[in-house]
């Protein structure tokens, strides 16, 4: 009992809970559409309240005044066509009144034409990938909260579960079109402040759009159950004024190109085991441990173990192929695009030498390139 009270007190009074205020209503958001949606939400809410007051009012009046203990004698009326017609027609008229503005807003929401910028949003288990259509720029966006925060080993920070390593950056005042798709299961890209929620369906492309009015940081989450870590797949959008956006874009593009050039140089380099193993462990924990677990044991029946696995102990080339190209028909993704050459080499080395796998194999960037070239 004492423990429960302690737990209750802890729950209600621990300071981190007050780090952020919860909104008890829908937020009006930062786009013209989201404000219209908020308006519709409040209108239909007030209509429901009014009907509720009338119906429940009549009912509680009856409960109070027409009770047997007050000597009420039951009337015997049991039908009235006139009344029935009235209370069929009135709701009908209210509904038409509601349907008109809803239709207008819906037609506007579903018109992605004349966009200034196009972003391809691709969901996969459990991260988002953004590709700027008109630029040489694409990147993955993964939850930045530490797993130790989730498991209670570290204090939870302010934007716990709502922070990512690489946020999507967009300009304000421009019509941004999103093309949504998925690489595995169905995900749903949702940013409440834009009133945009659209499913990312594997093999199909959905459209949505927004024009952001105010600069700021807007947070959302995946809204469609997409497997084990569905709850750990946040979305962060940073909206910047055009000039800042352009500067960011230029910087990002340059960095992106520099990284690609660096990748080419890596082919000639040879890394030592210590370097490969320490980098590999980091990459493994970020990209692989969600399924195969930190201890390499996987989740029996769901995700296979890597410790003592035939792939990690067998042919190196086969192992590289699985990591780079994925395993079609299973949850194993293709990491060739998600990770750099150095990271791929490191993580495969790590998998072949950690948890007592001890093959002694070192995988270098050039080995990975060989597999990638063979696939093309």
């Amino acid at each position: 009992m004492g423990r429960w009270i302690q737990l209750l007190v802890l729950t209600f009074f621990s300071p981190h809970l007050f780090a952020q205020e919860m909104s008890f209503n829908l937020r009006p958001g930062v786009t013209a559409i989201s404000e219209q949606v908020y308006g519709l939400h409040m209108t239909i809410f007030y209509i429901c309240c009014a009907i509720g007051v009338l119906v429940f009012g009549a009912m509680f009046w009856s409960i109070y005044h027409h009770r047997k203990s007050k000597g009420a004698v039951p009337a015997q009326f049991h039908e009235s066509t006139k009344v029935e017609i009235i209370w069929t027609i009135i709701p009908f008229i209210i509904l038409i009144g509601m349907a008109i503005p809803a239709t207008k807003t819906l037609l506007a929401m579903e018109d992605p034409s004349d966009a200034d910028i196009t972003i391809q949003v691709t969901g996969s288990q459990w991260k988002w990938h953004y590709k700027y259509f008109d630029q040489d720029l694409e990147f993955y966006s993964v939850m930045a909260s530490d797993w130790d925060e989730v498991n209670g080993k570290l204090e939870k920070r302010k934007n716990y579960l709502l922070e990512v390593d690489h946020p999507l950056v967009l300009p304000i005042g421009k019509k941004v079109r999103f093309l949504m798709t998925s690489e595995d299961v169905i995900h749903s890209w949702w940013v409440p402040d834009f009133a945009v929620k659209k499913d990312a369906n594997p093999g199909f492309i959905n459209e949505a759009w927004t024009i952001i009015d105010k600069p700021g940081i807007y947070r959302g989450q995946c809204a469609e159950l997409c497997g084990k870590d569905h709850g750990f797949m946040p979305i962060v959008v940073i909206a910047k004024p055009q000039a800042e956006y352009d500067a960011w874009l230029a910087e990002k593009e340059a960095a992106y190109l520099a990284k690609q050039a660096q990748e080419l140089e890596l082919v000639a380099m040879t890394m030592q085991q210590d370097e490969l193993m320490s980098l590999g462990e980091k990459v493994y924990e970020k990209s692989c441990a969600a399924c195969h677990q930190v201890n390499g044991l996987g989740l029996p029946g769901v995700f296979p173990a890597l410790k003592d696995s035939p792939i990690a102990l067998g042919d190196v080339t086969k192992h590289i192929e699985v990591v780079v190209n994925g395993e079609p028909g299973t949850a194993m993704q293709a990491f060739g695009k998600q990770l750099g050459l150095k990271e791929l080499a490191a993580v495969i080395t790590y998998e072949r030498n950690a948890w007592g796998n001890d093959t002694g194999d070192l995988v270098q960037a050039k080995d990975v390139v060989a597999v990638q070239n063979a696939a093309q």
């Binding site: 729950t11 047997k68 039908e79 807003t105 716990y160 989450q221 469609e224």
Partner: protein, 529 residues
């Protein structure tokens, strides 16, 4: 009336049925089977409830404390499946078994042997489903809606067991529905015309047609999942020319009529209880029948309102928005009729009436949030958040389950021949009423505040409200044991009940049968006034 009770008051002496366990295994009696359905349903209610408690315990605080995300997903999935197919639907079938023959003046259900089978395959279906939780890789973890490809390519090995269990549940439901239809069409006492049927019979009649129409669709959906996963077909895989959204169309073509399957019999129950305790005939009987039929008809053309975010053409979105809004008209008619029935009545508030009034208010709140969800542009914001969770728990828990509770209290004297403890009944009602609202009302706020559903962990701003919701959940779960204790106490040592314990009750079961009702309800047809 007296002749019937004399002949049957002690059926054991001339009815050479097996005794002990075999009596229950071999029984073809509608009352025995009805009781088994009801007890089975209560057992599943506790099992599914225990899973809800695990969910609420994990969500009591942010962070992962008790379970892994994969197990959490299994809990949300199996909780939903158990509550829909194991608790609510069998409870209604049990009520139909007990009540339909008594209400229409029949001796039994029309197809008693099929009746036995339709019950007895259910425990096997749920054993298979629950056993899959203990397999390597765990049980179904893709939500009770099992959207492909999460349920095909990415599902655990136990998915075949899930498919098989759903098939058995579907066969059971279809057999139960056939039995209800055949009974109502053929075994009505002379003079019991369709427009004299009690509304519970009417609503079940319509529900049975819905069941026959949509359970095969569900069977088709699970079979396609089975072949996609194990036999290389590509119904739901774009790589083979299929479409994952096709799954959702098929599923919700079943799923939306299914939610009316779980609420139409409730309307029948409330339409029996409200007049009884208002001591006044039901207002607008025929409009109630027409409203039920139009709700059933509309239920076939609104399925895609569950799928507004999947990227449908805007024309389709408009069509489904308008049809969905239209459903509120006949549903409103029902609520208005109940209030008009109470108006100028002579009301008393025994436990069945308390649950019925709570049903009307809370189901209507669920209806309001349903109307809000129908508005497509706003649905984009509500969809897959706790607002939806609040909505369907208001219509299913304070709707369907409260009506089942109301029915249990109302007919318990007729079933057992004994009165329940009114004080305990009221205690159960008030505990349930308060806790269920602490449990589900704040979920509206969580959804509007932006918390997605089906997540094992949440951002810090949702912590306080989730803690409150969990406390409501534990209290609601515990409150149901008051009901269990009350029923056992009633059966063992309740005061003997008169044939008609409720002053204003009407119907053949009260006027023409003693309490407890005889083993075979009517061997000679009653006279219908």
């Amino acid at each position: 009336m007296s002749t019937i009770s004399d002949v049957h008051s002690d059926h054991e002496e001339h009815h050479h049925a097996p005794r002990g366990l075999m009596r229950w295994v071999l029984t073809t009696n509608h009352k025995d089977i009805g009781s088994m359905y009801l007890w089975f349903s209560f057992a599943m209610f506790i099992v599914g409830g225990a899973m809800a408690m695990i969910i609420r315990a994990e969500l009591f605080q942010p962070g992962l404390q008790l379970v892994e995300p994969n197990f959490f997903n299994q809990m949300t999935t199996v909780h939903g499946l158990i509550m829909v197919f194991g608790a609510v639907m069998p409870a209604f079938t049990g009520l139909a078994n007990w009540l339909v023959p008594m209400m229409i003046g029949a001796p039994d259900m029309a197809l008693p042997r099929m009746n036995n089978w339709s019950f007895w395959i259910l425990p096997f279906a749920f054993s298979i489903l629950l056993a899959s939780l203990f397999m390597e890789g765990g049980g179904p973890n893709f939500g009770w809606t099992f959207y492909a490809p999460l349920s095909t390519k990415y599902s655990p090995d136990s998915t075949a067991l899930f498919v098989f269990a759903i098939h058995i549940m579907g066969i059971s439901s279809i057999m139960g529905a056939i039995n209800v239809i055949v009974t109502i069409m053929n075994l009505r006492a002379p003079g019991m015309t369709y427009m004299k049927l009690p509304l519970f019979v009417w609503t079940w009649f319509i529900t049975a047609f819905l069941l026959i129409a949509v359970m095969p669709v569900l069977a088709g959906a699970v079979t396609m999942v089975l072949t996609d996963k194990y036999f290389g077909t590509s119904f739901f895989d774009a790589a083979g020319g299929g479409d994952p959204v096709l799954f959702q169309h098929i599923f919700w073509f079943f799923g939306h009529p299914e939610v009316y399957i779980m609420i139409l019999p409730s309307f029948g129950i409330i339409s029996a209880i409200v007049p009884a305790f208002s001591r006044k005939p039901l207002f607008g009987y025929s409009s109630m029948v027409y409203a039920t039929a139009s709700i059933a008809g509309l239920s076939f053309v609104v399925w895609a309102h569950h799928m507004f975010t999947t990227g449908m053409p805007v024309e389709a979105e408009l069509f489904f928005m308008f049809c969905t809004m239209l459903i509120s008209v006949p549903t409103g008619v029902k609520v208005f009729n109940w209030v008009a029935t109470m108006w100028k009545g002579s009301l008393t508030f025994e436990t069945p009436m308390l649950f019925a009034i709570a049903f009307i208010v809370l189901f209507t709140i669920g209806g309001f949030s349903g109307l809000m969800l129908a508005i497509t542009p706003v649905d984009f914001q509500y969809h897959d958040t706790y607002f939806v969770v609040a909505h369907f728990h208001y219509v299913l828990v304070t709707g369907a389950i409260f009506s089942i509770m109301a029915a249990a209290y109302y007919w318990l004297p007729k079933w057992s021949g004994r009165m329940y403890d009114e004080g305990l009944g009221r205690l159960h009602f008030w505990c349930s009423l308060v806790s269920v609202n602490v449990l589900f009302f704040p979920m509206h706020f969580l959804g509007l505040g932006g918390m997605p559903r089906r997540i094992p962990d949440y951002a810090l701003q949702f912590a306080d409200v989730n803690a409150i919701v969990s406390i409501g959940g534990f209290a609601f779960g515990l409150s149901q044991f008051i009901f269990l204790y009350l029923v056992i106490k009633c059966i063992r040592s309740g005061e003997p009940a008169p044939a008609k314990p409720w002053e204003g009750a009407e119907g053949l079961e009260w006027d023409n049968l003693p309490s407890p009702a005889p083993y075979h309800s009517f061997t000679t047809p009653p006279e219908i006034k």
